[in-house]
Symmetry: C2
Subunit: 399 residues, 2 copies
């Protein structure tokens, strides 16, 4: 679950070779549009060791058709890890390996939604999740979110009117912890309210929990999964942010009956698990301690980056903008005063920085004055420089 | 694209650990039910070297969000390889990396089929592809196949009556080369007839080309993709059979507009390519020659296995059965005379061998006298022993 990719197209004229990665380097631009990890923070050598060890330990079993729900060592390690970083942990039998949260979201929607069903989404929300949802014949209904996350009062009202209209709400997709794009975490009382409403109205919550490991100010909030009765929440856990996105490994965490249902889907039954070798590599990182050490290192580095960006933004934007300091994840959400974000973007790019305008994350008409800044890909000095450029751009854009 | 997995459940009582792989060992049984490679034939050390080299060469770029269509080196190598093993090759721009043919089939159906659309399938066909198709809100219509593959005369008649009934045929799924379960390849004139009908009636052919590399008696037949106009055939290419299923890497091959459409789907845009690191490992195997050497070695080994099984079947079954000698792939399809395959299975298992009864591969009522034998997982001596046991079982089952 990453970022901006639809916003920028690589120029094949500039480089005749086909692209290797998604990120498109634009000379002279510090591009805070991309929700990608800094290449310098990816544990290349540790993953080489882990891949070696997996092949030494499991031999051909690491390369054959894997168990449909994911290899046992992976499910066992994920269960242990989630127990350590959340209020309660799942049984291994409630866990199915995925090829990352994007694939997992696609599969869960395929399994749970019928044509014409309503899927509720936060507004603003992760725009590429919206694209995945729109690849299915469902109807999306936005629920507004504020600085405490999804507005559960509006959600309750919306559910009431949909029920009166005879419409079936099947799913609600949410990023309740260190939200993309806002960085906000859903307030504790709203977490409970959301779970109560799902229980009352019989819809399933898809909890995209991609950012939990990247928590900078103490433990992350309890997951929705951990406070809900069995069967109400399908939680998508990713190792893209905490280890490496290119491995394409995540996990679907629900209850044992749903895990069996996912594992029994045609794709996993036929293919033998969606990420067999790569998920063994992730499990080996977990078992050997590489994973835990890496998460600590990432949290330290990203905390510094967040602090650098936030401090610079405060200094350069002053009263021209407000923003929420995120306690985790990749993003700072900025709301401008009297400046259109699209106009600011044009000026900012001319001055050597970039971002994603907030309207991209809104389902229908959205705020024209907000924007998302990712602090994941650049070191503190570059972030401070980007903030300076943004400040200059804001000054010259203000009317 | 593998096999029997729905037929056997692992006993968690026997082994308290969660399963690692899909194959379930049953002591004393030579199980020809599984369309899996022999673990002894998987190139463990070569893949370790390839993974090492990928991380040394590309560093963090091998682990970050990959280009949505797959990494350039992978698409370039697949284009070269397909040009070498088929009548014509695609441009790299017509290729998108997949996580194997099961994931690719699921995605292509999601993109192309609307609720209520008709999807035509061969009968018999790969039963787990049917499960993938049934995870979508489409209607499956079987078209009979014989020893020359899909019966294109019946297909023409079926298309005519569907058209008269005002029904929309959107897709046809076929394994035209070294078919699962029959081992048959679609006859050349029928390949052309199929392409003409698709062109006339405006449906897309999904060509599951998982077995092309495993060709034992000369070159494999030209792919449907290679003889069709652009845009008519979406071909699914797999490296599960020619390298290692656990890597979960394949490719979707169509034309450039369709490849862009696949790469632009929500899942690939968000996740950054579905198999970034693993597809770089496959490309490195290709570039370094590991892949070509491995395919030659596999063809030699599987040819010996096919020959051993076929020779033994001839000797032990005699006039009790007929079968078609496959020119490639994993399977021999046996048709019994006057013996019910389910009854034979019970006796065969008591005598220490097993298989998948043919009815599993039929959409509706199927032949009760056919069965599928996989020769991929066992060495020639074990295959000869399995055939002996099957012969004894047939003798005691005959009425």
């Amino acid at each position: 679950v990453n970022d901006r990719s639809t916003a920028v197209s690589p120029s094949s004229a500039a480089d005749p070779r086909l692209p290797l990665v998604q990120f498109v380097e634009r000379p002279g631009i510090i591009d805070l549009g991309w929700g990608h990890p800094d290449p310098a923070l990816l544990p290349v050598e540790q993953l080489r060791l882990a891949a070696d060890r997996v092949l030494a330990q499991y031999g051909a079993d690491a390369l054959n058709y894997g168990h449909a729900a994911g290899p046992g060592p992976f499910r066992e390690w994920v269960a242990e890890r989630l127990a350590a970083i959340d209020a309660r942990g799942p049984e291994p039998a409630s866990i199915v390996a995925s090829a990352g949260n994007s694939q997992a979201l696609d599969q869960v929607v395929s399994l749970l939604a019928s044509p014409g069903d309503i899927v509720l989404v936060e507004d603003p929300t992760y725009h590429l999740a919206v694209r995945i949802l729109r690849d299915h014949p469902v109807e999306l209904v936005p629920i507004p979110a504020d600085e405490r996350g999804l507005d559960t009062d509006v959600l309750g009202d919306t559910l009431d009117s949909l029920r009166r209209a005879g419409r079936r709400v099947r799913l609600l997709y949410t990023v309740p912890t260190f939200h993309n794009p806002t960085g906000v975490s859903l307030a504790p009382e709203r977490r409970h309210a959301l779970v109560r409403l799902a229980s009352r109205d019989g819809f399933t919550i898809i909890e995209d929990d991609a950012y939990r490991e990247l928590s900078y100010d103490g433990p992350a909030p309890r997951s929705l999964w951990s406070i809900a009765p069995d069967g109400l929440v399908v939680r998508l856990v990713s190792f893209a942010k905490s280890l490496a996105p290119g491995l394409r490994v995540g996990a679907i965490v629900a209850d044992a009956p749903f895990a069996r249902r996912v594992a029994d889907s045609g794709v996993l039954d036929s293919g033998g698990g969606i990420s067999h070798f790569a998920s063994l590599v992730v499990a080996e990182c977990g078992r050997s301690g590489i994973y835990g050490t890496n998460v600590e290192r990432l949290c330290g580095a990203y905390r510094d980056r967040r602090d650098a960006l936030v401090a610079s933004l405060k200094r350069v934007l002053g009263p021209a903008a407000s923003f929420i300091q995120p306690a985790g994840g990749y993003f700072v959400w900025v709301t401008l005063r009297g400046i259109d974000a699209r106009a600011l973007l044009a000026t900012a790019e001319a001055l050597g920085t970039s971002f994603v305008p907030g309207e991209v994350f809104h389902l229908a008409q959205g705020s024209m004055t907000s924007l998302r800044l990712a602090f994941s890909r650049y070191a503190p000095a570059a972030l401070a420089e980007a903030a300076e450029r943004l400040g200059h751009a804001a000054e010259s854009t203000r009317v």
